[in-house]
Point group: C3
Chain length 275, copies 3
């Protein structure tokens, strides 16, 4: 793990420009602040280039995609590329509708992303250029297990080669890969899927981790994914202790993110390298 990765982040407070969905936008902003970054949400075509210019990273999340903001996404992404900023794509629901699939492919065609993060169905859709995702969750038939993990790693590596981006496939087992190297992460808890927004929060955290640790995007992404999972584990323990429910879990999750330090992450991360 990158030494002092969270200290780097907290000492730099990188500004992260998010063009994201209106369902989880508040959680995304709070998680960016909690992990040590600072959020700016702006999606009007007239100002996105200026906003991108004062930030360190740009997050594009198509969770509630609408045609008004597609051009703003393209403008922000191209500006970020021009400035050499970190760019992270979360293709929420790619494969579920023609609009989402086509927009995802167009974004990938016109923007060079640093990291692409999705569930296995979304990543397959990108790889194949088409898809049949049922909604915003991964199809059961696609889910990564110990049995098919080698195929999933191969997919991630190939897609990384094709897109020149770090690929993060999230699920019960997470796979983070570039064209040569893959990290397998087994942090996390099932309760994370019982609240909305853990995926969107993670995407923003990846941007903050990468923006403050630009010398190793692959490892910074793996660290962010592990950190989110570890905080999920800690939040579950707190929730269980109080015999509480999903809303308490959400609070404990963001609390844990705000309190996480390098030592706790190093002690709790469950990361394995497969080269």
């Amino acid at each position: 793990m990158i030494k002092h990765i969270i200290s780097h982040l907290k000492s730099q407070t990188p500004l992260i420009h998010c063009i994201t969905n209106y369902v989880t936008v508040n959680d995304v902003a709070n998680v960016l602040l909690a992990c040590g970054g600072s959020p700016i949400m702006a999606d009007d075509i007239q100002e996105v280039a200026e906003i991108t210019s004062i930030c360190s990273a740009t997050v594009i999340n198509i969770g509630t995609l609408n045609t008004r903001t597609i051009d703003a996404m393209l403008t922000a992404g191209k500006k970020a590329n021009e400035l050499g900023h970190i760019t992270v794509l979360d293709p929420v629901g790619a494969g579920a509708t023609k609009l989402r699939t086509e927009t995802t492919l167009r974004l990938l065609n016109e923007i060079q992303f640093s990291v692409i993060k999705g569930n296995i169905s979304e990543i397959k859709t990108i790889y194949q250029g088409s898809g049949t995702t049922k909604g915003v969750d991964a199809d059961i038939s696609d889910i990564v297990t110990e049995n098919n993990i080698d195929e999933a790693i191969a997919l991630a590596k190939e897609l990384s080669k094709k897109t020149n981006a770090v690929i993060a496939i999230t699920g019960v087992i997470d796979i983070i890969a570039d064209s040569k190297k893959a990290y397998i992460i087994k942090n996390g808890h099932a309760m994370m899927s019982k609240i909305t927004g853990t995926g969107c929060m993670l995407t923003a955290m990846i941007a903050a981790y990468c923006a403050s640790n630009t010398n190793d995007i692959l490892e910074a992404t793996a660290a962010a994914v592990s950190a989110m999972g570890l905080c999920g584990e800690m939040a579950y323990l707190q929730t269980q202790k109080a015999n509480a429910g999903t809303s308490s879990f959400r609070m404990h999750l963001i609390d844990a993110i705000s309190k996480l330090d390098d030592e706790t992450l190093t002690g709790g991360c469950n990361i394995e390298i497969r080269e």
Copy 2:
């Protein structure tokens, strides 16, 4: 009460397509997950029909109505009708502005809803085809009490006959009726009106309860209304015990929804039938 109504819901995890307002959308998504469903929010005209097609129910909530999404609401609603899906309307603020009243009437004209849920002022506006609601809360002059409840029941039954939908009038006393039968529900707590979104959350819960219990929409709606009220009562006790405030109440409310089971609902529901 439908036997095993919550078990049905939890075993089916119905996908619910919500075109809803941006004030409470995060709560709505979290409540759908908490009660056992799964949310998808999408409101762009180019994709709503496809999203509706992969869901079991469609929720239309006009809380922050804007002209961009009206056509998306109509498209989604018609598609849901075509597929025989559950459709639930929450005409937030109908009667408060011309745009809301006219849009509500247009939606009712072009879409067959399974359930229409509103406060007494909104329901009166629909019945009369015009209205003078003061904002998004019921007018004091309209509020349902023991003294005027028979009139309100008659109104609900007549509107159900006219619209062929189950009518849910929410307030201190809730009335759920079709053209023949009415349920009177006395669950709930005053603190529910001190947080935003309990009405929107309930609308989404009704959709999830109905989508997984399609053989009795009237009773599924009554169960959802009673469940939300009962969780409000339990959340109040938790809040009071900790001498806490409205934000804790919101957390305890969603916690209670996530932990509610058939036994607790059967034991705590306060439902009376008036045929």
Copy 3:
């Protein structure tokens, strides 16, 4: 302090029309309910004038400005002026982009605001008619300290003269001024900047405090600023006691707002007058 300022608010439950950003809109609605007001969010040009007409105050917050809603802001503000309602402007990020600066100046040109609330960088942008804010936080070079406070007070008084509005400059030290008199407020806690939305929540609270205490807008604004800061202090103590994080802090903040009464505010406010 205005005697019984919170009792006035709670007895009147003023309706507040908010055209605000989608990042913190849910918190804004919950804080309005918590403090004793009632929120209505509406931003479609076709209905904003009607919504404004049934409210007591109008809040315009440009946090996620988009060109669709600028005309709605102008229409709502002019209607509020026509009716003599309280109007509050939060020029979030003015100075950061051309769109935000120009929109802010246009709003100020066409609408008479009762209160303008911003951080020192935003207020300087308004005063100078241009700016170079880095994002939505105040520039470090601008921050108000004991050393430059007299300049900041002079700026606030001059801008108040120019705009005929009460000016609220928020930061570690808050300055609330009209053309003759200034209040210096030292309530608050650093953790307030670790969650999103405290500024937006405060803007809405100012509107509610002013709408129910119209005879002294300056003092009502100072009271709201002090109240928010005091609740931040109390929330910090709760958070610290539980060794919790930023999400717990947010909950305790809104809890404290919902429980605040005149006695606690009078006892805890840290306000100094500089004439």
